[in-house]
Structure formats: C-alpha cells, structure tokens
C-alpha cells in the first residue's frame, strides 16, 4: 500500500509541473505585462498614486519582469514554491494575502457537494437500475437530465428569489454578514452550515445527474452477470443478493468517478458563487479576469487545478483501500 501511495504521488509531480506551466501561460496571455499597466496607470494620474520609479524597479526585480519568458516562468515557479504567488494589481497586495480562507471555503463547498451527490445519487441510481424502464426509472432519468440542462446560474437565481419569497430569508452569501472576515468560530461555522445548502444543491444537481446515469449503467451491467444469477438462483433474497454483490462492485466506479466530477464541481462552484455572492474563490476569480489582474487569475487557475489533482489523488487512494486488485496489481488495471 505504501508503495502504491508513493508511486501515485510521484506520478503527480509532472502533472503539477504542467499545470503550473499552463497557468503561467494564462498569466502571460494578454498583451503586455502588468508593469506596463502599472506604469500607464501611474502616468495617467500624472506620476502620482504611490508608484514611483523605484518601487516599479523593485517590482521588476522581484518578479524578474525584464527577463525572457522562460526565465520568468522558472522565477515565478520558484516563488510559488516558496508561497509567493505574485502581486495583485487590483488589490495592490500579494495574492496570498487577499485570498486567505476563500480557498478553504471553496474546499468546504466542494466537499459538501460531493457528499450531497453521493447521498442523493446512490439510492436513486440503484433504484433506477433495478427498476429499469419502469415509470420510476423514466421519471428519475428525466429529472436527472433536467438537472443537467438547467444552467447552474439560473437555478441559483431562482432559488435565491424563491427562498426570499417563501421563507423570507436572504440566502445569498455563505455566512451571515457579521461573520465575514472574522476568524473561524463555532458560531461562524453554524452560520456557514445554514447557508451552505443552497450552493450545494445548485452545484450538486448537474453532478448528481451524471452520477446517477453512470451508476445505473454500471449496475445494469453487473446485474446481467452470472454470479448475480447464481446468487438469485440459489435462493438468496433479492435485496440481499443485490446489496452484497453487484452493489459492492459498482462502488468502485462510484469512488473513482470522484476524479471526474471534481473539475465539474469546481466549475459549477465558480459560477454559482458569483451569482450567489459567496465568499469563495469564484467572485474574486471573475473580477481578477475582468480587470486582467493576471497574477491573481493565474494563481486561481493553478490552485483550483491543484485542488482537483489532490481530489483525484484522494479518490485513487480510497479506491486502492477499497479494492485489493488495484492495490496489489501494480495499478496495471488503469
């Protein structure tokens, strides 16, 4: 097992490397660099605004902006490894300072959504497969497709509105306003829990649909296999035969699918949190993109991708824990 973990982590390294390169490419994409923007901004204000030449030279040196792109990349990478993600133009502060616990909240939302998807998709998927082509299967399939088809942001808007009309509460945000920018406390935690369900439902709907479909297809395959027939033929009660064998088999794709849905979750979380005004990374990311605050935007892309990679790693490790074939088979099955 330990060997597997180590191997799996080593495989991650080139992936992370490539992700950082692509993130950096995104930073470099818009024409010009951010020092030119800074300079122009300073000039348009007549040289005032706190940006004297010395400061700009200092920044130039600190981020190696006068060198070639390749040198800049490795310089940036070196900085990133030391925890310096660059400088946000918009906030005039290092990126790391601004983001603070927003990334943490993104993780919380993604985690809660994953749980939600599992809890909802599992029983529905099994029910759908066992009752294939019956009314319940059709109805649930249709609901699932509908969940995928409704744009996330629209669902968020509607929920926001109707929660206000029906319950008279404002559900925007991820916590009550007085807790924003406060250190984590028990009250804040409860407040987050209270607000969490809307984004979780909104983000979860599309992922749930996909998960149900896949679970249903996998279980249908298993139900046609001989071992299940044998179990039934030998007189095992249907429910027991189902839960003990085929369901156990479909548990595997269920967990390995985590790696597939995680990028979707983060995607969904980004747009939903913009509509709902959550204090996650989404709104910051959007505003960084709109003002072409590229160090900030690039860092977000980097972080979100790294989060995904870590999520996939966790799902792989869980899978290995669950399935001895993967653990002992040198991962050859993949």
């Amino acid at each position: 097992m330990l060997g597997y973990v180590v191997r799996r982590i080593i495989v991650m390294i080139p992936t992370l490397f490539a992700i950082s390169a692509i993130s950096f490419a995104i930073i470099q994409l818009p024409p010009g660099d951010y020092l030119t923007t800074l300079l122009m901004e300073a000039q348009s204000r007549g040289g005032e605004g706190g940006y004297d030449l010395g400061y700009i030279n200092y920044l130039k040196e600190r981020y190696a902006l006068d060198r070639t792109v390749f040198e800049q990349y490795f310089f940036w990478l070196g900085n990133v490894l030391q925890g310096d993600f660059g400088y946000s133009l918009e906030y005039r502060a290092p990126v790391t300072e601004i983001v603070g616990d927003r990334l943490f909240l993104t993780v919380v939302v993604a985690f809660a959504t994953t749980l939600f998807i599992w809890i909802v998709a599992f029983p529905i998927g099994i029910y759908s497969a066992v009752n294939q082509y019956r009314f319940g299967d059709y109805a649930l399939t249709f609901l699932g497709f509908l969940g995928f088809a409704v744009p996330n942001f629209l669902l968020a808007l509607l929920l926001l509105y109707y929660a206000n009309v029906w319950f008279g509460t404002s559900i925007g945000g991820l916590m009550d306003p007085q807790f924003v920018d406060q250190p984590m406390s028990w009250e804040k935690f409860l407040s987050v829990l209270e607000h969490l369900w809307i984004p979780v439902i909104v983000i979860g709907t599309s992922g749930t649909a996909a998960m149900i479909r896949r679970l249903r297809a996998n279980l249908l395959d298993e139900l046609q296999k001989q071992y299940y027939l044998t179990a039934i033929a030998k007189g095992l009660p249907p429910r027991r035969a189902l839960v003990k064998y085929p369901v156990r088999m479909v548990l595997n794709p269920f967990i390995s699918d985590l790696g597939n849905i995680l990028p979707d979750l983060i995607s969904g979380a980004t747009i939903v949190s913009i509509v709902l005004g959550l204090q996650t990374t989404g709104p910051l990311f959007l505003s960084a993109l709109q003002s072409q605050d590229m160090y900030m935007a690039g860092s977000f892309v980097l972080w979100l991708s790294v989060l995904t990679v870590i999520g996939v790693l966790i799902s792989d490790l869980l899978l290995a824990l669950l399935d001895p074939r993967i653990r002992l088979g040198e991962g050859a099955a993949r």
Binding site: L29, P30, F148, L157, L160
Partner: protein
Amino acid sequence: MSAEAGRPAADGHYVNQAPWNPEEEAPLSPALEAWYMASQWKIIWWKLKRHRLAVISGGVLAVFYLSILVSEFLAPYALDTRHTSHIYAPPQRVHLFRDGEFVGPFVHGYSFKLNLETMSREYTENPDDVQPIRFFCRGDPYRFWGMIESDLHLMCAAEGGTLFLLGTDRLGRDMLSRIIYGARISLTVGLVGISISFLLGIVIGGIAGYYGGWIDNVINRIIEIFQSFPQLPLWMALSAALPPNWSPLLIYFGITIILGLVDWTGLARAVRSKLLSLREEDFCTAARLMGASPGRIIARHLLPSFMSHLIASATLAIPGMILGETALSFLNLGLRAPIVSWGVLLNEAQNINVVSLYPWLMLPAVPVILVVLCFQFFGDGLRDAADPYK
C-alpha cells in the same frame, strides 16, 4: 449411415447427390433478409427509430436548427428595433375568442401608466383594444442572410399595434425576436466547437491508440493534465484573454475554438481505448501486411468501425458547450453585443430584481434547457443504437 437417397461413394462415405441449396436449410424471412443485407447505418437508423424519445428530440432539434436558416422571417421584429414607448413591457397573451366568439388570434393592446409612487412602469391589458395578429405580412425591413432585401415576416402586429409575445427588454426590444436571432449563435457555437474537439480527439487519440507504447503514454499524460483543469475557470481565463479590440465575429470564433480546445480529451480517450483493442484484429494486420500506411489504416479501416460511437459521444458533448457559452456570456466573458446569443440575453437577467420585476427576461433560458435536454435524449438514443450488432 447409409440412406436410400444416395449411393455409397468409393470410400464408403455417404454422399448426397442432390445439388445443395443453402436457402432450403434455413429459409430467411424477408424481414430477416433485409436485416442481414442492410448496412450498419441503416440498422442504426432502425434501432434509433424505436427509441421514441430520441426521435422526438431529434425532431425538435431539427426544427431548431432549421429555424436558424430563416430567423429573419420567423422573428416578428428586426433584431434591433426599439420601441421606446414599450420598455420592459410584459408578454402579451394570445387570445382566440372574444365574447365567446372565435375571431382568430389577437392580442390586447397595453394601457400604460407610470406609477409615480414606485417609479415603475405599469402595463395592463386593455380589453377594448383588439389587435389581430397578421400573418405573412410586411414588417421591419431586413437583409436576408445579409444579402437579399425583404420585409416579409411570418407574423406581425396589427397596424399601429404591438406584438410582444415574450415581452420587451430594457431598451424596448422584442424578446421573442431576439431569442429567435440568438438561436443562430447559440446553436452553432456547439457545432463549431464540437467539430474542433472532434478533429483533435480523433487525430490525437488515433495516434495514441494506434502506436501505443511511449507515444501513448505521453499523450495519456497530456490528456490527464487537461482533464485536471476545471473546465469553466479555464474557459473563463482563456476568453478573458481574448483581445478586447477584436470584432464580435472574431470573438465568436475565438470562443468556439476555446470551447473545442478544452473539450477534446474525452473523445481522444474514447478513440484511444477503441483503437488499442481494434489494432490487434486480423483485418488490421491484413491491411498492414498489404502495405497500407498508418494514416490509411486508421482512417479507412479502424475509425469507421466505431464512428457511430464517436458521433454519439460528440452529440452528448454538444450540450456542455452550449451551456458553457451561455455561462461565459452570462458572466460577460463570452460573446458581446451586438452579437446576440441566449447567454448574452440572459446576461440581462443577472440580478434578483429582474427575477421579481421582469421575469420574462429569463425566458431565453427556456430554449437553452430545451435544446440541452433534446441533445441529451437524442445522444442517449444514438448511443444505444450505435452498436446495432449487440
């Protein structure tokens, strides 16, 4: 065993002298014969036809796509006609009966009042003002496909009246017309995007699957890296980097290319895994021994055997792109005015006020949902039918 019908041959074995007619042994029913003789695509078509929902969805999609050919004719107004006296007008309902008598489709005119207390425009239906809808009538002039001058519309408002079946927006433009025009962009974004990702997927996946070995390994790693990027943030970042001085049309192509560039990995994976198993087949070895080049083997012998699968999965990938464009435009990162897509229209419905005061501005979401649903059902049916010999 010797039988009366034949005489023993020289070596003592029984030989039946009657000419052998294979059709006598197991006569084929005409239906079965048709099935055996039919081409793969024909069988796929038969199988697809049995999937009711898929056929209906396909029909709906066909209607949508045909409509973009004649948007100008279908829309009651031109794209940018502004009705300054009808800003944020609610949808007009179509009536058929007046005083219990059938008079054909008509709408009631608005009576307009500016509520000075809430400073909002209040429109109410005026039951005395009957405006019959005209069909095949002369209305706003337009250039059909930017070339032919015309002013023929499927339907337009009564002389001097209005026809806002889905209401108007903040500039007094007819929502229905804008939705009809928006279909042009929204529906083609997915098609162009999927073409790009299809091409990339087949070429890259084909190379990986056919050659295997270290090439396969490298490509696989690249695919893994691409897949670990959350799609939407990547789309957002790339489209934010499109130069702001590009023309709307260039932006449109930029967006579709971005959608395609990020999306090809799934298809490439599918192609690869199929090729990996198929390249061991005898027909592939035979082609190689006869000196066919790898490109020819892949394109002529291997791809056709699972093209149907690819088309099915491409169909299932289109709705993701349509939703992606909608999301990007909604966030102001995608297409921009004057180009009109459903996402651009939804951009107006961004805040909660709209939902409560002018809910009809959210109507562009309806065709989005409908089209995505249809693609899902159609793609599902296609996938089931794709392997007809199973």
